[in-house]
């Protein structure tokens, strides 16, 4: 009988899933873009950019994501830009994801030792060339694992959009639970929310598996750092 409930609403769940996937993909693309931008700003040679990046990151990371979401949704009309729930969710997740991602990008770039940068400078390469051909390709290795973690978190965070009324997957689950409770008197929450957990689990596990595959591909080329030479010291 529980299966019947799931099957009856399957189409309904699928439309919700479609919403979730759409929101998730858009969020990931935008958040990764923002992460790269702010991450590069935070290692820039201009102090003003570094400070701007730092403020951005601290602000959006320290406030709970939910507060962030509600603030964007309820606050936007005040500056004259009323947002649809979907857009508010997208904007909020992008800002938050970008802040966390920027930290990951910054950490990855800093993990590439300064010697690489100095060595490339000595060859006469321009600053942007050094980043493009030497630093960023190597930074992929330390960036990829935590970035994947962030991406799965962002996919999970799309469930927050349900609180704004966006008809993504979790909202559908809530609606099904409420409707069934009203109609039949007892709550299928255990089943439906359990089902929801399993669906998210499947999606995020697939994402993680995909990224591990790319990590291994990167390892095969020389992307993991060479061992530092023994006894190296910075002599004056």
């Amino acid at each position: 009988m529980p299966m019947a409930l799931l099957l009856d609403n399957l189409g309904f769940f699928l439309t919700g899933l479609e919403f979730t996937i759409r929101l998730a993909l858009l969020t990931l693309v935008c958040a990764i873009g923002v992460s790269l931008l702010i991450g590069l700003m935070s290692v820039s040679q201009w102090r003003a950019l570094r400070i701007a990046a730092l403020c951005y990151v601290e602000f959006w990371r320290d406030i709970p994501l939910l507060v962030n979401l509600l603030f964007i949704y309820f606050g936007a009309p005040l500056v004259g830009v009323p947002l649809k729930p979907f857009t508010a969710a997208l904007l909020s997740l992008t800002l938050w994801g970008g802040a966390n991602g920027a930290e990951i990008v910054r950490g990855g770039i800093n993990a590439i030792g300064r010697h690489q940068f100095v060595s490339a400078t000595a060859l006469g390469l321009k600053r942007w060339q050094i980043y493009r051909y030497v630093v960023l390709p190597q930074a992929l290795m330390p960036i990829l694992p935590p970035m994947t973690g962030l991406c799965t978190t962002l996919v999970q965070a799309t469930s927050l959009a349900s609180l704004l009324g966006v008809n993504e997957f979790f909202r559908i689950a809530q609606i099904v639970v409420e409707r069934t409770t009203m109609q039949s008197g007892h709550s299928p929450a255990f089943l439906i929310y359990g089902f929801a957990l399993l669906v998210y689990f499947a999606i995020c596990s697939a994402l993680t598996w995909l990224s591990r595959y790319f990590e291994q591909r990167l390892q095969k080329t020389g992307h993991s750092a060479i061992a530092a030479p023994r006894g190296f010291k910075e002599s004056a």
């Binding site: 000595a122 060859l123 390469l125 020389g222 023994r230 190296f232």
Partner: protein
């Protein structure tokens, strides 16, 4: 070996402080085309700082640097960048780019600096790999090369830019003993081909064999300068004599 009269690089009265320590305390030196200059001295004497001033990696607090008769503005990063195409540098830790193969390491700078198109650069790179006797390792990643091999690739990488002068910062200090010889042999053969070089090293045998002039530095100053016979045999300064005796 005859060297030309006008100096290729000339540094005058360089001063550089890191915090409270003076790494360079009024240092002047010059090198002419075709000359081989070796710099020796205890750690902390300022040797590395000095040669890093000569390609702009370190900007001196005071002093004048002239390249080919033209004064270099110490803060002009753009001018230094163009100059670095004429000044090659080899580091103690080789610092090859680990995500690129040996040949890609060598062709990166020439191609990106617009010196030559990729096919030509690859041809030149292969010739360089032959020169350093690593032709068969062209498509190997640095992680799979020994320290000595990596350093030789690093030298090839510096040569790829066709520099007028090569700077070496303790190129063999981080190598296992059995690999030091292969790198020194390469440097000797480069010197024999007429390459202008400034080498910071502890390898006295190499210095004695190759150098036209030796500088002995201590505590940020040049204590004594002269031909190897003088520095290693008939020192003017007691500090030089003590250092050489300690190293010998």
């Amino acid at each position: 070996m005859q060297s030309s009269q006008t100096p290729l690089i000339e540094a005058q009265n360089l001063v550089k402080a890191f915090g409270r320590t003076r790494a360079l305390d009024d240092v002047s030196c010059a090198i002419s085309t075709g000359e081989r200059l070796v710099v020796i001295g205890p750690s902390g004497s300022g040797k590395s700082t000095l040669i890093r001033c000569l390609n702009g990696l370190v900007k001196p607090d005071a002093g004048k640097i002239t390249f080919d008769g033209q004064r270099v503005e110490p803060t002009s990063e753009g001018h230094w960048r163009r100059l670095r195409q004429r000044v090659g540098m080899v580091f103690q830790d080789y610092t090859l780019f680990p995500h690129l193969t040996a040949i890609e390491n060598i062709t990166l700078a020439p191609v990106r600096a617009g010196l030559m198109p990729k096919p030509q650069a690859e041809l030149a790179a292969r010739r360089l790999l032959e020169r350093v006797q690593l032709a068969e390792k062209a498509t190997s990643y640095p992680a799979f090369l020994s320290g000595g091999q990596q350093q030789r690739v690093a030298i090839a990488r510096a040569l790829a830019m066709r520099p007028q002068v090569l700077l070496f910062d303790e190129p063999t200090s981080a190598l296992d003993p059995e690999m030091i010889k292969e790198v020194l042999d390469l440097m000797v053969s480069l010197a024999r081909d007429g390459m202008t070089m400034i080498v910071v090293t502890h390898e006295m045998g190499f210095a004695h064999a190759v150098a036209d002039r030796v500088l002995f530095m201590e505590a940020g100053r040049i204590v004594e300068a002269g031909p190897p016979d003088q520095i290693f045999g008939n020192q003017n300064d007691v500090r030089t004599r003590e250092f050489v005796r300690r190293i010998a």
